[in-house]
């Protein structure tokens, strides 16, 4: 299934993937599962929190101290004998985030919208500066006097007299309709 392979590849792209160091070598620590650092051994089973992959390849905490080990021993017996705290501890040994924790909303959207507006603002400043310093002077045909003469000439020529320009001019009273 495509989604199973993307589970492997997708974890690299997923922002919520927590890529842990493996338990080999001197870099290990019992809770030593931090964000991706300089090198992660991708040939070892990896842990990730994904909604569509409830059981990742590796438990979250795979270096167990003696209390964890004794808890794991107790897990082999009837689970009715475990207290709530012990059950929670067992869960936290195996998994990093619970589903609600995985689904917690982030404040990222504020950063995105804010960044957007900042860039709009910078662009606006650039456009304004450009209008002031870069554009050449306007052609003389844009002047008030020229425009007035142009309009009068258009009316004299009866431009679009039926539906358009001159149709809006009341020739008898010399004003716009």
């Amino acid at each position: 299934m495509l989604h199973l392979t993307t589970g492997r590849v997708g974890c690299l792209l997923s922002k919520q993937a927590v890529v842990a160091l493996t338990s080999s070598g001197a870099r290990m620590s019992s809770h030593g599962h931090h964000e991706v650092s300089d090198s992660v051994d991708m040939s070892q089973p990896m842990y990730w929190d994904r909604l569509d992959t409830p059981l990742p390849d590796r438990p979250w905490k795979d270096v167990l101290d003696s209390t964890d080990k004794s808890l794991k021993q107790k897990e082999k017996g009837p689970w009715t004998a475990l207290s709530k705290e012990e059950k929670i501890a067992l869960y936290r040994l195996k998994f990093n985030h619970t589903y609600p924790e995985m689904k917690r909303p982030s404040h990222e959207w504020k950063t995105v919208i804010g960044g957007m507006f900042i860039f709009f603002g910078i662009t606006g400043l650039v456009v304004f500066w450009q209008g002031h310093y870069v554009y050449p002077p306007q052609p003389h045909t844009f002047g008030e006097e020229w425009q007035a003469k142009q309009i009068q000439r258009m009316l004299d020529m009866r431009i679009n007299p039926i539906e358009g320009f001159s149709a809006q001019w009341d020739y008898k009273n010399k004003q716009w309709k």
């Binding site: 199973l4 409830p54 059981l55 438990p59 998994f95």
Partner: protein, 140 residues
């Protein structure tokens, strides 16, 4: 795809599984492309119950089964989940059992009635094996 989307949009605590199309191989959820016959709901459920009921199931098979099952466009029937929880018990893995419950709650999506129904159906198994739900442990 459309049929799956329509079915999932029909809310109702009873309509849990959807007919799956394909061969008996667990991964083949494609449709009639090869001309195979449609697998019924019961066959699908039976296949998965058998998978998890394997007496000497190992941890990898449990993980693979659960991850595949969660990948499908359906919420598994209580009997499949019961078999999976019992497999967790054989593997002495309480954490995965709780994780499975969380996962199916997430799979129900906006259909809020499915998860309480599942818990209700699984209640005897949960009590027998001593599995607490995430809600009982305060993890929600």
């Amino acid at each position: 795809m459309f049929r799956a989307a329509v079915r999932l949009s029909v809310s109702g605590a009873r309509s849990l599984t959807r007919p799956q199309l394909g061969l008996t191989a667990p991964l083949a959820q494609r449709c009639y492309a090869h001309g195979g016959k449609l697998e019924s709901d019961e066959e699908f459920d039976a296949r998965w119950v058998t998978y998890f009921n394997k007496a000497d199931i190992d941890a990898w098979e449990l993980r693979k089964g659960m991850n595949t099952l969660i990948g499908y466009d359906l919420v598994p029937e209580p009997k499949i989940l019961e078999a999976a929880l019992r497999a967790c018990r054989r593997l002495n893995d309480l954490a995965s059992a709780i994780r499975i419950l969380e996962a199916v709650k997430d799979k129900s999506g906006p259909h809020k009635k499915i998860y309480p129904y599942l818990i209700q159906e699984l209640r005897p198994t949960l009590d027998e094996l001593g599995i607490s739900t995430p809600e009982e442990l305060g993890m929600d």
